[in-house]
Symmetry: C2
Subunit: 731 residues, 2 copies
């Protein structure tokens, strides 16, 4: 580690304290330079720690903090719409048991708020709603009976259900076999009476925690959507989405929405044929209105809580975790909460970028992995016999570090049971070094920005900046935009996230030289129905005609029309045959042996799950790779601009380089290619111009050598790096 | 070959005569027992042959027979709508060169029939037609110029083009390098003046061919659709479809249509965004009306031609080939032509069944492969050095024979240049034996019907019986229904073909115990938009509820709705996730180790190109095979009935058995399983009850042994068969 003026040994580190292990807590706080000690959920820190001079950081989850109130106010619990599992009519009268297939320890039908007002019954065969006079409900039996059903048609009921067991309590309880421990329920702060109770609770809590410096909310009020099935072995998660606002709904919320927006939402706006409003699918405009409404509410009541914290001279941090819905750290309104800090648990570089991207907090902190638990997320040993937590930590660190090098982060920390690290002295040493490495990287960001290419890249999705640097929660296999984000997170590129409304209203943002659109047809990532606005096609086509770039991955701009699948097919020089072109001939191409885009590509190309049925229009399209007659990688000049198509994407070191080259070529930036480029794709170089430092990182678990090209794009510097290593050069 | 009362040595065989090889012609006619000698296209038979006592069979293609008339009546040539290749607007004025990308030796723009009346210009970005006042055409430049175009939008012109080179003439000319030989053009019999010219030509021709007994039409008037591209190396076939009526269109036809049907068709009804009306895609109701209109016309004028043939005391046969459009041998109106015979060239068993299925002719004849040409269809040697025509003949024969055993065929024949067989005496011997084998099988069909299972199977498609035993022309890889038909063609099952209108109007036909629906979403085979009629779902669901069966293959009943892909998902017990269910949990199943359906299945299962993303609903669905978490084969009881799902299908001997079992199980017919079943899947057994014969065929090129179960489903008979062999047992 080279010398620096910054004290690399202390600060910016949150350590999870553990009662009963006071000496260890204090020793490791010293070794790792922790300035803050956290009380883990369910542990109370001892006086020794509270009085150690470290800042104390305590967690609170408001909505499950007032159980006595929750126990007696069952009508004020959180609720949501559920769609009953489809029932096929056999006769003219059909009865549906509403909760059949759902976990009845989680849900109880809400019979109290007039079912005839809020519920809807659908004939899913015709797609039409069944008139309200044609069905009756039976609270005792838990059923709805429909009159005049057509035999052979499918019927479902959208109904309101209270959640009588809060999901995180439920998950921990069942995972850890907590037996007859109380089932916690989450109260709904949408109810004015509940708000009062919560504020009163918080006030008392703040008074009773004088040593606490940082109040960490987990998170605000509404959990991500998580509906459990009756049989946990075969179908635990009927529905689970990190970003769906399904679990915020209530008759009161819907009434307030109508008052504010001037139109009524119905159950089907939330149920959507059982797809609900998954973040992965392109959202309706009605649902976007509802999100804005709910975000507004969460800010409004959240701010009251935070103001209370501030009145006690404490800081309010928010953990971007389970109850995050409505918080939206990427929203331009996030600052209105008044939070002092944002904490993000990270597995990947894109999550680091997500945390760094949030505006409106002074402090951005990462919770690193591995968590101090005996086993990892898949049940593999970590801090126990057979585990290698040091290697785990190294591997997690090289993933997160790619993002930390590119974007400023203020603090790091660990979570879990500190006592577990006692038998692993090499882990203790590694974290000491890791913390120093973090502080050094942080120091480079101070007053400086890492060098990026002289052009901007925009990622176009239906969500735009609201879901910048994420799709929906942690990495999900099969959603190729995650892989793209993970590649982008470590590249020397300035990346913006734009949505279709931005594009139509304001055109392509200034400075953006190329646009990435990646995803399966219909998804929010590709854009789905947003492509039906012809202005989107016009703006983007003109952008490329005039010299811009477009990188399309999987099913970019997909919106099926007769004879056409990709709206930007002419820009891409190719389209997809979804099976309707059996009779249409396909242009016979030859695969080009070499190209700027594939100069560092390895063979065979691994692009994950790929889109098939691609066909090119003619000789203007250069195919760089193909399989079974379907191009996998192709480039196409269009007007004064250029397009690149990839049939899929998977995060690997090689593909990161491939994407980087595709972006540079599409942006017509071959001339600027090479500066601060590391020849070995397993390594990456970052230049901090003001600091005069060149950071070279090894993203692999093997020793690597590389040659870094300097600013002029020509002069080269050889660098050797140990496995997981870093090298800092003066430039 | 067992003894029989029938003379197996002569009759029912058409031999292609060749001028200059009179002795060979007569010798082989004797050896093969030919009763008919055909003059190949372009050859005149010598007097020796004409006077041999054999029936003479001559070919005529009316629409290209009157070149002097065609040369001077360019406005009476056949025509069609073309869609210009899309052009992306850069400015407010955009010019499109209509024939850019098309083969200008095939097409000439029809400027004569008011373009403003018949043509349409589309903004394909919005999907809207451009007002006629906004565009002008320029005959000299061959262009259309559009005013007020939006930069970045795509524009196309639908325009009428005459075909100045008849496609078969064009294909043969260019394939064989015929240099400056005349480009033949096809005249349009829709024009009354042309009808007169054609009838006059036919009258003269009939008078000038006194020796001809059979007039073989090739075929009637309109070729299957075949649009060639400008560059034959890279995109010869811009569009090619065996069943599309695109090349029948003309302003006169459209005016007559309007008069008869009371509404106007427009160019887009034919162009359909460049997809035209491919047989593979679910047809619109407007297009079905047009087909009926044109079928009516072809019958009306065709009948006049046939009546003329009959007036000369000759027979009229039709070759189900190039100019077949409007003939429709499977139509219930086909008999109205008054044809005496139908000839079908066959590669596969399903084509044999197609020929046998046609009603309204006395004689059904097969043209067998290999054709007597030096090379085969893929350029491989046949009747020349390196070829093995005998083995080719055996392999083609075992494919066709499966169908011949199951359905009555009256005649067989060969085509091509007879002289080519001279150096292949073993081929001459093999055809002698093959002809005897055919005559024997034919004799079993006389007054008898092969045994079939005691229930009927229906294949449900958008075309129904009109496209019975075919999809669109010869076998096309990637269209799994072809594979299904090829399997069905040799199975002891009574198969019906039904469409959605049949189903809604009349329900499932009597005797049908199970229904097969097979194809990709949107195709005519799966059904496409026909599934949007809720009555279809209701009828089929009730059918299965009450004890019927359903076999769904690939994307059966597919019609994407929110949260649902297959309309019969509840019947199948599974559905397809097209990518929209990332957040919806999937039921965890175990693969069942054994089942009636898979009792003879081989591992690994090869179902060709498969549908992925399948998920099952619950424990009622039994998964029998899966890949990457997606079921490939599953069974599901529903109500009193049963459903089977296969994610794809490929014709193999093993899969034929699998399909047979799936059908039997879905029809709840395990009890009738076993009768006349041959244990070895490479062999098949057929019982002719009245003849008291059991025909066992070897469908493989290897010697095989098998055990045939007799009528009682228990008693067994061992049979040994040589490669390609047949065994006839008395029972």
């Amino acid at each position: 580690m080279p010398s620096t003026n910054v004290d690399l040994t202390r600060g910016d580190f949150t350590l999870p304290g553990e009662a009963g292990y006071e000496q260890l807590t204090l020793r490791l706080a010293e070794k790792w330079g922790a300035d803050t000690i956290r009380d883990s959920d369910g542990t109370q820190l001892s006086p020794e720690i509270l009085e150690s001079g470290k800042a104390i950081y305590s967690t609170v989850c408001l909505v499950r903090s007032v159980q006595p109130w929750a126990r007696v106010n069952r009508d004020k619990l959180q609720q949501n719409f559920l769609m009953s599992f489809p029932v096929v009519a056999e006769k003219a009268k059909t009865t549906i048991t509403l909760l059949d297939g759902f976990f009845t320890e989680q849900f109880a039908v809400n019979w109290r708020d007039s079912p005839k007002t809020w519920w809807q019954v659908f004939d899913r065969t015709t797609g039409e709603e069944v008139a309200k006079r044609k069905w009756v409900f039976n609270e005792k039996k838990g059923t709805v009976t429909i009159d005049g059903t057509t035999p052979g048609h499918r019927y479902t009921v959208n109904f309101l259900a209270f959640r009588i067991w809060e999901e995180i309590s439920m998950y921990n309880h069942l995972t850890n076999d907590w037996g007859d421990r109380e089932h916690l329920a989450a109260v709904d702060p949408m109810q004015p009476a509940t708000q009062k109770v919560l504020l009163r609770f918080l006030d008392t809590w703040l008074r009773e925690h004088p040593a606490t410096k940082v109040v960490r909310f987990t998170s605000m009020f509404y959990n991500f959507s998580w509906f459990w099935g009756a049989d946990r072995k075969t179908l635990r998660d009927v529905y689970s989405d990190w970003g769906d606002y399904a679990m915020t709904v209530s008759p009161r919320a819907l009434r307030l929405f109508e008052k504010k927006y001037g139109y009524k939402l119905v159950s089907e706006d939330f149920v959507n044929g059982g797809l609900y409003n998954s973040t992965h699918n392109a959202p309706s405009r009605r649902y976007r209105d509802y999100m804005a409404f709910m975000h507004d509410f969460v800010i409004e009541f959240g701010r009251k809580c935070i103001e209370l914290v501030h009145r006690y001279d404490k800081l309010a941090y928010v953990f971007y975790d389970d109850h995050w819905v409505g918080v939206e750290p990427s929203s331009p309104r996030f600052h209105e909460f008044g939070f002092d800090g944002l904490i993000k648990c990270v597995f990947n570089a894109f999550e680091v970028r997500l945390c760094a991207h949030s505006t409106g907090v002074k402090t951005r902190e990462l919770r690193l992995h591995p968590y101090l638990f005996p086993t990892g997320l898949k049940g593999e040993p970590t801090f126990k016999e057979g585990g290698n937590p040091t290697l785990d930590a190294k591997n997690f660190w090289i993933d997160a570090r790619r993002g930390i090098v590119r974007a400023p982060i203020d603090r790091i920390g660990l979570g879990g049971y500190l006592s577990l690290v006692e038998p692993f002295p090499d882990f203790q040493d590694y974290i000491e070094g890791l913390a120093k490495e973090f502080r050094l990287l942080k120091s480079f960001h101070a007053g400086d920005k890492p060098w990026t290419a002289p052009y901007k890249v925009a990622v176009l999705t239906a969500w735009g900046d609201l879901r910048a640097w994420t799709c929906s929660g942690h990495f999900t296999p099969g959603v190729p935009l995650y892989d793209v984000l993970e590649s982008l997170a470590g590249l020397p590129l300035e990346v913006q996230f734009i949505d279709f409304d931005d594009l139509v209203a304001n055109g392509v943002p200034k400075g953006v030289k190329t646009i990435v659109n990646c995803g399966r047809a219909g998804t929010a990532w590709s854009g789905g129905h947003y492509w039906s606005d012809p202005r989107v096609e016009a703006v983007l086509t003109q952008f490329v005609q005039k010299g811009g770039g477009f990188v399309g991955i999987a099913e970019p701009s997909a919106l099926v029309q007769p004879g056409q699948c990709f709206k930007l097919a002419r820009v891409l020089g190719l389209d997809r045959d979804g099976g309707e072109r059996v009779a249409n001939g396909k242009y016979k191409y030859a695969v080009a042996p070499s190209h700027f885009v594939t100069a560092d590509a390895v063979s065979p190309l691994d692009l994950g799950k790929e889109t098939d049925g691609i066909y090119v229009f003619g000789p203007d399209t250069t195919v760089l790779a193909e399989r079974d007659g379907s191009p996998r990688l192709a480039v196409h000049p269009f007007g004064k601009g250029r397009a690149v198509y990839l049939s899929g994407f998977k995060f690997t070191h090689e593909n990161t380089r491939l994407l980087h080259r595709a972006i540079a070529w599409s942006a017509s930036q071959e001339a600027t290619w090479g500066a601060w480029q590391s020849s070995n794709v397993k390594t990456e170089a970052t230049c901090f111009p003001k600091a005069g430092k060149l950071v070279v990182i090894n993203n692999a678990g093997t020793d690597e050598s590389t040659v870094v090209t300097l600013a002029d794009g020509k002069t080269a510097q050889k660098v050797k790096l140990p496995a997981h290593g870093i090298e800092i050069l003066d430039i």
